[in-house]
């Protein structure tokens, strides 16, 4: 009973911590939501783009005890991997966070290109994330980056989401072939030497902005999930404690009754 009580205390404390962290990060996340919209409006959203070099950026948390958000993002990443694999195609993983690493290293070790952990030691900010994005862009060759994260909706619901960032060459190819990006050709380009250069800058900026939002959303979902997980487990511990106390009292009562019976029956035997 003591250990159950201790566990309850721990989970309650974790819930409180998660709740306070959640509040801080939630405002940040909500403020960063405007950031990716202009890019999606301009460059479109093409999760079905068929390209050779795919990179799946799986975002997960470093710590556990936060419900199913990490396994969801791993499952989705594996799905994307399967979807984009085929002859003459290669799909690589870039992993953020300890938990997705643990799950993906097991069966697809050869496809992992880069692992980055301990992202959330300091509070997240844009500079940090853009350095990170730069590192990914430097080390990985890509035609399409697919960022997998859990979008925060409320404390109890998260939506697994995939954002696609295409490389400048692919954007240009899609724009020339018409289709969904056909409008891009009508845009005039100011600054830079060529359209390619601008698109390159734009794609990199888009990646860092999308990453920033994705990392924040995922962190927010993590705290939310941890909060609800801890809430349910402290409630569970409370229930267990109630049951245990009941059994304890019942056994104690039973032993007292037995003793009483023994005494009374002994006394009556003496009298008789």
């Amino acid at each position: 009973m003591k250990s159950v009580k201790n566990i309850q205390k721990i989970t309650k404390a974790m819930k409180m911590v998660a709740a306070s962290k959640l509040r801080a990060i939630q405002t940040k996340t909500e403020n960063s939501r405007g950031l990716w919209q202009p890019f999606t409006a301009l460059l479109g959203d093409l999760p079905s783009a068929d390209v050779k070099k795919n990179v799946v950026v799986a975002i997960s948390s470093d710590k556990g005890l936060c419900g199913g958000i990490n396994s969801t993002s791993v499952k989705i990443s594996k799905g994307l991997h399967k979807l984009n694999s085929g002859p003459e195609k290669e799909t690589k993983y870039v992993i953020l966070g300890e938990k997705a690493k643990a799950q993906l290293v097991r069966d697809s070790k050869k496809d992992i290109e880069l692992i980055i952990t301990e992202l959330q030691k300091n509070p997240l900010n844009y500079t940090q994330v853009s350095v990170l994005a730069d590192e990914i862009l430097k080390n990985v060759e890509y035609d399409a980056l697919r960022i997998v994260f859990n979008k925060f909706q409320s404390v109890v619901s998260f939506v697994p989401t995939v954002s696609t960032v295409l490389s400048p060459e692919i954007v240009e190819r899609e724009a020339e072939s018409g289709g969904k990006l056909g409008d891009l050709d009508s845009y005039e380009v100011e600054g830079g030497e060529t359209k390619g250069e601008i698109l390159q800058n734009l794609a990199e900026f888009q990646f860092s902005c999308t990453m920033f939002n994705a990392v924040l959303e995922n962190a927010c979902s993590e705290q939310g999930a941890r909060m609800s997980a801890m809430d349910s487990s402290s409630r569970n511990a409370g229930d267990m404690l109630d049951r245990l106390t009941l059994t304890y009292n019942r056994t104690r009562q039973a032993s007292i009754t037995t003793e009483l019976i023994e005494i009374i029956s002994g006394a009556s035997a003496l009298e008789g």
Binding site: N31, Q37, S48, I76, N125, G191, G192, I198
Partner: protein, 201 residues
């Protein structure tokens, strides 16, 4: 102006071809890439397809046939949405090719921004921000998206600190030996002199 007008008129005849649906009265079905969902459910039938950003996107208006009187501006920073779908008369953005005024009905443009002043004109009110860098995307539907890494209202800049920073970086530029140091110092000088001219100008 006439060049833009004729372009806009020509555009109105072509149908709007983006994947997003702009139905203003039925917001129920989110606009997702249907071919993606199809191929996903073929390969991974026992898992719901993930959402994509377009399903969370606030829908953008279609290109109107006449040039609207106001320009809709979205001005976003990593940590805030400074202006969100605000209707203004004109914005002037600091493009790398020079200050660029954007009125409703501007030709669609992608412009890279340099450190400088973004001014938002709304009637007689003018709000001025200092931007570090970013992009301005002007769409055919008289919507301008401005994305900046950092921005502050001009009146919040401290002239003394700007002068000091300018002096510091000029000195650093003089003493820089490697290319990287030089480039960093040059960026510092550029930003600070732009800030300086923003305050004095």
């Amino acid at each position: 102006m006439f060049r833009q007008a004729s372009r806009l008129l020509a555009r109105t005849t072509t149908p709007w071809r983006r994947s997003r649906s702009f139905s203003s009265d039925v917001p129920a079905t989110p606009a997702q890439d249907s071919s993606f969902i199809e191929s996903w459910s073929k390969v991974i039938p026992n898992l719901d397809p993930p959402k994509t950003p377009s399903s969370f996107m606030t829908p953008r208006p279609a290109t109107p046939s006449a040039i609207p009187s106001k320009l809709t501006v979205n001005f976003v920073l990593p940590y805030a949405s400074e202006l969100s779908a605000k209707e203004v008369d004109m914005v002037i953005v600091p493009a790398t090719t020079g200050q660029m005024g954007v009125l409703p009905g501007h030709v669609p443009t992608i412009a890279e921004l340099k450190p400088g002043i973004l001014s938002v004109h709304e009637g007689n009110d003018v709000t001025k921000y200092f931007l570090s860098s970013g992009f301005a995307l002007i769409h055919a539907n008289s919507v301008a998206d401005i994305i900046a890494v950092e921005a502050v209202p001009v009146d919040r800049l401290d002239p003394a600190l700007v002068q000091k920073g300018l002096a510091d970086f000029t000195q650093k530029l003089g003493s820089a030996t490697t290319d990287l140091e030089k480039a960093e110092a040059q960026i510092g000088v550029d930003v600070h002199s732009a800030m300086n001219s923003a305050i004095t100008g």
